[in-house]
Amino acid sequence: MPQPRRTPRSPIRWHIAVFLAPAVLIYTAIMIIPLFGTLNLSLFTRGEGGAREFVGLANFATLFGDPRWSGAFWNATWNNLWFFIIHMLVQNPIGIALAAILSTPRLRFAAFYRTAIFIPAILSFVIVGFVWKLILSPLWGVAPNFMDALGIGNWFAPWLGLERSALTTLALISVWQFVGIPLMLIYAALLSIPDEVLEAAEMDGITGASQFWKIKLPLILPTIGIISILTFVGNFNAFDLIYVTQGALAGPNYATDILGSFLFRTFFGFQLQLGDPHMGATVATVMFFIILAGVSLYLFGIQTRLRRYQF
């Protein structure tokens, strides 16, 4: 916890209000009020003649009790969890490894690598979805030809169209897109480790890989914590990539449906399915609590245990 930093001299410290005011005002007016207005819809339903009727928690009972709703909801939740696990197991370790290699002192072309590897993260989902569909397309031959050249052409399959592989493929595409973000954050954290710490370690004979594991990794743990929670929040809010590559019905057979795509399909509707703001808001509220639980776990369970270093 922060140390007591300052004994108050005057009873009202106006500067605190000045520092907080612009952010709080804009954020409250444009995000919180509209969003909670929307979440509030989950307690209502559209009655006869279009009037809004208060129904308490009935929509939640439908979401968890009706086999069709709960089936779709749990399918999306488990898919989302798998999507997150892939990111944690693939994206973040790759990001950390690349950052560790990049931060090697006197590495040539480091600036070039760093710049290049981050580029996918600045592309829009439309571009990422389009180009990967093109690459993985069985017709235009980029991936199949490449795999033929490596002698593993038989392993090629229409991954995005098969129930067992579509979600993992999409998760890996998303990893490809976003790996630059953990990379940059970790890289910045590694660079900010004071030289004295590393010199002291070298004096003790701790170098190379063991220096990374014993000295650097513990020092960048808070950054890894932030990255994990950002990945969690990002994954549980994701939907664009699914929409762009698989459409709103998250095919094949809902195998790529995650909470975000389920929410948007419910809230805004799709084709002949009309938008249902009330059930949509119900899904959004549940998602909100899932993410809140994750963030709280991080804030109260993990972050406070990570030692904080002041440089």
């Binding site: 954020y27 007016a29 995000m31 690598y113 580029i119 592309l123 990422v128 973000i181 809010n237 002041q310």
Partner: protein, 278 residues
């Protein structure tokens, strides 16, 4: 450590980095080279570079005829830069208040400001639009700037407050003894020290703003305020088969942001290295 071992390690490092760089850039290169080829060549040999026979800029002609892309680009720039500026400034101020002072409700305020990263802002669309109509801001840059600023704030506060706590107390207390006001401490001591974090927040915030399609469509679809992403999306309809135009539109959407990033990336890294107090 022997020279040979060091040589080996450095070649291994380069091999890994080169392999990953190819993986990262290859799809982008694929779009750009194919945007300059004739339609038949795109499908017959998507991997080939354009040759004299297959070179064709028809896609770019189609796209550029459809709208004022220079104006769209300018709109995107204005919106992105202004939103970034406000999100970073206000976010840093709030983060400083939360990290620096103990006051009643500090923790609650921190949680309150973090709520926004847990719900997609698109769900508030109708209420936001009504608000903008009431304020007469529809089809202005301000509508978008306000939304993106609000949307960027939670993340900025979340990350920056973490870094603000790492700023040395000794420096600040020394400044207080010298009689500097809290505002000057913020601007002259805290802000420069968290520049690496600011740079990362900037990158994080910038990408979704630049690529957003939804709010430009809802809040500022007029010709004068259309953003680049919105302007190029008319080529990505359901029935679009014109891949020349699609690839050209994608290239036009990629290139500016890549160039911006290349310029910005040097600042970003300089910010990171300078900010790291050694």
């Amino acid at each position: 450590m022997s020279a040979r071992a060091s040589m080996f390690r450095s070649s291994a490092a380069h091999a890994i980095l080169i392999a990953y760089t190819v993986l990262a850039l290859y799809p982008v290169v694929l779009i750009v080279i194919n945007s300059m080829k004739s339609r038949r060549a795109i499908f017959n040999d998507p991997l080939a570079l354009p040759t004299r026979e297959t070179f064709d800029l028809v896609g770019f002609h189609t796209v550029l005829e459809q709208g004022n892309f220079l104006l769209y680009f300018q709109n995107s720039m204005i919106v992105t830069v202004a939103s970034l500026f406000f999100a970073l400034l206000f976010g840093a101020m709030a983060a400083f208040a939360l990290a620096e002072y103990r006051f009643r409700g500090n923790l609650l305020m921190g949680l309150y400001l973090a709520l926004g990263i847990m719900i997609p802002i698109r769900l508030g669309t109708v209420a936001i639009l009504e608000l903008m109509v009431a304020a007469n801001l529809v089809n202005t840059h301000w509508a978008l700037i306000l939304v993106y600023t609000a949307n960027g704030l939670p993340l900025a506060v979340f990350i920056l407050s973490e870094f603000m706590r790492q700023v040395s107390d000794d420096l600040k207390n020394a400044a207080r003894i010298d009689g500097l006001s809290e505002y000057r401490i913020f601007f002259t001591i805290a802000l420069p020290l968290v520049r690496p974090a600011m740079a990362t927040v900037a990158v994080f915030t910038m990408i979704p703003i630049w690529n957003d399609l939804w709010f430009p469509l809802i809040l500022a679809p007029g010709e004068a305020t259309k953003t680049l992403t919105l302007g190029s999306q008319i080529f990505l309809g359901q029935y679009v088969t014109n891949w020349n135009a699609v690839l050209a539109a994608l290239t036009l959407a990629i290139l500016p942001v890549v160039v911006l990033y290349l310029i910005f990336s040097r600042q970003l890294i300089r910010g990171i290295t300078k900010g790291a107090v050694k």
